[in-house]
């Protein structure tokens, strides 16, 4: 049976793979398989980001997201954020390891200087070193917490993102454990987002790949069509062009073109990861 197609309703959200696939960690569940030595996608330069920001502004893009790899490995990251915050709100997905007090103070100054929101998401995969470190790496729990503390001390309150690899996170009791942890850091208004896992990249080796039945099929669209999928309103820019979404950057067939204008058409939901997006209702909304 053929795959359904998703239409781009409006290009609201533009992602930048600003850190490429280069990361200072090599998490066992990373669906992009990022690591210190993965150069599949290189970091984006300020000039490239600017070119896309100009096109995005003409198209009426509403918000910008930055990911990698680790965005703060990119030496131009803060300048890139300053340029972005002139045209719209920005959210950075980070592993928190490079958030020293000096950087956090500069980020707070950037947030204060803009009319638009600057938000952060810090990934954490457990409520202690025993649960987190086997996934994110030896000693990372303490270092991530230090980054979160530094952001908080600077007056920035990040969203903590946790994947379902950490057992029990999805239930209320699991969430409460994270809230308790964050409150113990002095964060009175903790923010938490739970993410499902995509069984691709490193995660396919850790947790197992998709099974053949885990595919979207024509005729399965819910009442509102496929508009609940983030690819109905987003695109992803890497150093090699524009991809349909932030999840499929390692799939050559998910590249849609070189400019945003090339990528305003439909996309076939053939990949098994699309099944996860649909079933778990993945969205970039907090």
């Amino acid at each position: 049976m053929s795959s359904p197609e998703v239409a781009l309703q409006s290009l609201d959200t533009l992602w930048f793979q600003v850190g490429g696939t280069v990361c200072n960690l090599a998490c066992t569940h990373c669906f992009v398989s990022c690591s210190p030595t993965n150069h599949t996608h290189e970091m984006l330069a300020l000039a490239e980001v600017r070119r896309y920001l100009d096109e995005a502004a003409r198209l009426g893009v509403r918000e910008y997201y930055f990911t990698g790899g680790e965005p703060f490995l990119n030496p131009e990251m803060e300048t890139i954020l300053a340029a972005t915050l002139e045209v719209g709100p920005a959210t950075v997905l980070t592993n928190g390891l490079l958030l020293d007090p000096g950087r956090c103070a500069r980020l707070k100054a950037l947030a204060d200087a803009s009319d638009y929101s600057l938000d952060f998401r810090v990934s954490l995969d457990g409520w202690d070193a025993t649960s987190n470190d086997p996934i994110r790496g030896e000693g990372t729990f303490e270092r991530i917490l230090a980054g979160i503390r530094n952001l908080h001390a600077a007056g920035l309150n990040p969203v903590i993102t946790v994947t379902e690899v950490c057992e029990g996170t999805a239930g209320d009791a699991g969430k409460e454990r994270f809230f308790t942890l964050l409150r113990s850091l002095g964060i009175e208004r903790p923010r938490l987002k739970i993410l499902p896992v995509f069984r691709i990249g490193a995660e396919a080796e850790r947790g197992g790949a998709y099974e053949s039945w885990q595919r979207l099929r024509e005729g399965e669209a819910p009442d509102g069509g496929w508009d609940h999928l983030q690819c109905s309103s987003c695109r992803m820019v890497t150093d090699q062009g524009v991809w349909v979404c932030p999840i499929l950057v390692n799939e050559p067939e998910a590249k849609m073109g070189e400019t945003l204008a090339d990528t305003l058409g439909d996309f076939p939901l053939e990949h098994p990861a699309c099944w996860t997006c649909h079933v778990y209702g993945v969205s970039c909304r907090t």
Binding site: S10, V61, D115, Y116, S117, D119
Partner: protein, 223 residues
């Protein structure tokens, strides 16, 4: 017309007496259609819990005639003020429950939205937080505020907007409105509405629906 506060039926004669032209919001749409939920667009379970309490309350306390009348309201209205074509919607021209917050509605996005909808000014609400942005093209976007809940700024008054044609262009004034909030709080308590809602009326700080706030609006918030 309904949501957070007590006794929604009291609104109806007031609208009729004042000959107020109304539009449908997500509440009116849901109530008229007999939907199970308010379609407020929240993602956090705690927000949804409280949203459900207010929706059920409103659902119970609106007559079938009132709900049917809500179903007759348009979702958008165009109003001419002087030379200016105003478009009135609840959330956004695209979706009845889209949130247009100040810090996440950037100028390029709004310019394109107004181009697509061919108007000189866009008036929306839904978020509960008022703001006004004059665009480089000279057009205006106004979140007109709400009179059913204070604006999460520690003040008990609520907000509305005055729009008028002026020599130099469209006049936009966001106006604070003080009212008998102690009386409202007493009425909410006697109706058995949650203490969390009453606290908001008494303090001016939101206690629920905080997850939807963008970083900047959340930072300015007490909870």
């Amino acid at each position: 017309m309904g949501a957070f506060g007590p006794n929604p039926e009291k609104v109806r004669p007031l609208l009729a007496q004042g000959q107020v032209l109304a539009i449908q919001g997500n509440y009116e749409e849901s109530l008229a259609a007999g939907r199970e939920d308010c379609n407020c667009g929240y993602t956090d379970p705690r927000d949804n819990h409280f949203a459900e309490i207010s929706y059920r309350y409103t659902e119970r306390n609106c007559s079938p005639e009132f709900k049917a009348w809500m179903g007759t309201l348009p979702q958008r209205r165009r109003v001419r003020v002087g030379e200016h074509e105003l478009l009135l919607v609840h959330g956004s021209p695209r979706r009845i429950n889209e949130f247009l917050f100040h810090s996440t509605s950037p100028v390029p996005f709004l310019e394109v939205l107004l181009d697509q909808n061919r108007c000189d000014a866009l008036l929306a609400t839904h978020t509960g937080l008022h703001w006004h942005r004059r665009l480089p093209s000279g057009r205006d976007v106004i979140n007109v505020g709400v009179i059913g809940r204070p604006a999460n700024d520690g003040q008990t008054h609520v907000w509305y907007s005055m729009i008028e044609a002026r020599e130099e262009g469209l006049g936009v004034e966001l106006v604070p409105l003080a009212y008998d909030h102690l009386g409202l709080a007493a009425e909410m308590r006697s109706e058995g509405l949650p203490e969390e809602f009453v606290e908001t009326v008494l303090t001016g700080w939101w206690t629920t629906c905080l997850e939807i706030l963008p970083a900047r609006e959340r930072a300015a918030s007490r909870f």
